[in-house]
């Protein structure tokens, strides 16, 4: 029986409350840090086998062609979707738990943002290192492409790193904003969200069609390039983060 009275430790500070929330979201590192790399490893091995088969059965000239095609490899894309799911799960199930444990919605949102930024840096670093190896080994010895796919731009490694960080942040924060809409209004929140998104896209398409501005959009995107597009995604991610927080501020966890 523990009857000794424990001396109160240092008063919980704002920082420590934010960190407590961050710790809650990554309490099971298997989900956020281990499993994604394992899946990535399996995908890599499968791809490597395919590259090997191609290299074995085709002549050297064909490989060059194949490598060009592989620039469009979506093998690494699952990671971004996975992280979006991580964000959705965290807001949907960790948020009610954190509130029960005396957290404010603000501290939870900040803790989650901290985790999203941290995980984005971790995975972007991993992708960049693997991309550098991929280049140095001439496609893992087989002309394969996975971590230097066209979606990360054709610039040097640090541009790829920034593109990767930007993409991850986008998926994390859009995922948390979606989950916040769900926590706030349940399924109705998502219906409204997607209805508004649909209306916005149709409206934008209509404006572009009526004003004959599709070529302008196309050339604009081409001019921006991947890095430019991702740079534009940063404010979008930031807005998604703010929307997520605004939704959670008036949200009541329900079971």
């Amino acid at each position: 029986m523990t009857t000794i009275s424990i001396a109160p430790p240092v008063r919980a500070t704002g920082t420590s409350r934010v960190l407590a929330n961050a710790r809650l979201i990554v309490a099971n590192p298997w989900t956020t840090l281990t499993l994604p790399w394992i899946i990535l490893g399996v995908i890599f091995v499968a791809n490597w086998c395919i590259w090997w088969l191609i290299a074995r059965n085709a002549g050297p000239g064909v490989i060059e062609n194949a490598t060009q095609g592989m620039a469009w490899s979506g093998a690494g894309f699952y990671l971004f979707v996975y992280m979006m799911v991580v964000a959705i799960q965290a807001v949907n199930s960790s948020f009610p738990l954190a509130l029960g444990w005396g957290s404010t919605r603000r501290d939870f949102s900040l803790g989650a943002a901290l985790v999203w930024i941290g995980l984005s840096l971790v995975y972007a670093t991993g992708f960049t290192v693997l991309g550098v190896i991929e280049e140095a080994t001439n496609g893992w010895g087989l002309g394969g492409v996975m971590f230097t796919a066209i979606y990360f731009g054709d610039g040097p490694w640090y541009v790829r790193f920034l593109v990767c960080v930007g993409l991850l942040l986008f998926f994390f924060f859009v995922g948390s904003a979606l989950a916040a809409a769900y926590v706030r209004w349940k399924a109705n929140g998502l219906y409204v969200f997607f209805a508004l998104l649909g209306l916005f896209l149709i409206g934008a398409a209509a404006v572009l069609t009526l004003t004959g501005n599709w070529p302008w959009l196309g050339s604009g995107i081409a001019d921006l390039g991947v890095a430019g597009l991702v740079a534009w995604s940063l404010p979008v991610s930031a807005i998604a983060g703010l929307i997520g927080w605004a939704l959670l501020r008036r949200a009541t966890p329900r079971n």
Binding site: M1, S93, R105
Partner: protein, 304 residues
């Protein structure tokens, strides 16, 4: 009304003033006022859907009042880290992340609670036989409840709210919970608000009782006052009816010419008078009192 500078220094850990929460036409909580003094164990009793959980969500700032206000240590709880960091709110229906095992809950919880006692938590894990390495999804109802109970006790939060925390726990585990709660409360006084419908089981724990029915507080009294408050008078129908005339009748039973009537607000003088009139007196348990008070009055039938 929203000023945080409360004029009179109040000793109430939890105070509600005209607190309401309406969902459209549903008055989940309707103009409720009460004060729970610091350092008491208070029971929040009532039927399912009476408004117990909504009151607790309002108290912890999870739900927003439609009108009125609730104060924790004199401050509004909504988004108020200063008071919320002293609060633990454990729900029976608590969801946990799908990929969690109990050990992840127990690893994440301590950083939320200043007074967390890790040794105490470890001891409770043993006593409740909680398998810490099993996936939460695979736990039984009772094991799931025990996670909440362990966190709620080991957190030692100065304001602890337990919303039906033991659903699915077997009788042994429930008794263990009551005993541990009482012992730990004695060693580490704090304010505990416990909602339950297993009234007789917790009756001895409670110092104060709030009974909520249909969104309204119908009883707000010290548990000791409630224990002797009602009595059942048994005797010949005519004599019993003569005695109970003008009193608050909670329940009536008849068997032939014998009547058994439960009356509220009984004084010592009433008891003496009833005995003198040759009537038999029966004790009314807290549970009976509350069942009688919260059942739609039917003077003949046996209430739920």
């Amino acid at each position: 009304m929203t000023s945080t500078a409360t004029a009179p220094p109040s000793t109430a850990a939890i105070q509600a003033r005209g607190l309401s929460r309406h969902y459209g036409r549903v008055r989940a909580v309707d103009d409720v006022s009460f004060a729970i003094p610091t350092g008491t164990i208070c029971g929040l009793l009532g039927r399912n859907g009476a408004g117990k959980s909504t009151v607790m969500q309002l108290v912890t700032g999870q739900e927003f009042p439609s009108s009125g206000e609730v104060l924790l240590d004199g401050e509004h709880p909504v988004e108020n880290a200063r008071v919320l960091s002293r609060v633990a709110f454990i729900k029976e229906s608590q969801k946990y992340p799908d990929d969690f095992r109990p050990k992840h809950v127990l690893a994440a919880a301590p950083s939320f609670f200043e007074h967390w006692d890790a040794d105490f938590a470890a001891r409770l894990v043993d006593e409740f036989r909680l398998p810490v390495n099993t996936r939460i999804k695979k736990l039984s109802r009772g094991q799931l409840s025990s996670i909440g109970v362990i966190v709620g006790l080991a957190a030692r939060a100065p304001i602890t709210l337990l919303d039906e925390p033991y659903l699915g726990l077997d009788a042994v585990a429930r008794q263990l919970f009551y005993d541990t709660l009482l012992a730990d409360y004695a060693a580490h006084p704090r304010t505990i608000l416990l909602s339950t419908h297993l009234i007789d089981e917790v009756a001895d724990l409670l110092e104060h009782v709030l009974v909520i029915d249909d969104g309204r507080i119908i009883i707000d009294a010290a548990a000791d006052d409630l224990r002797g408050r009602a009595m059942t008078v048994v005797g010949r129908e005519g004599e019993v009816e003569a005695f109970v005339r003008g009193r608050t009748v909670l329940h009536r039973d008849r068997l032939g010419s014998i009547a058994s009537v439960t009356v509220d607000d009984v004084t010592a003088a009433d008891r003496a008078a009833a005995t003198a009139a040759g009537l038999e007196l029966g004790a009314v348990s807290l549970q009976q009192l509350i069942v009688r008070s919260t059942t739609v009055d039917d003077s003949t039938g046996t209430a739920a």
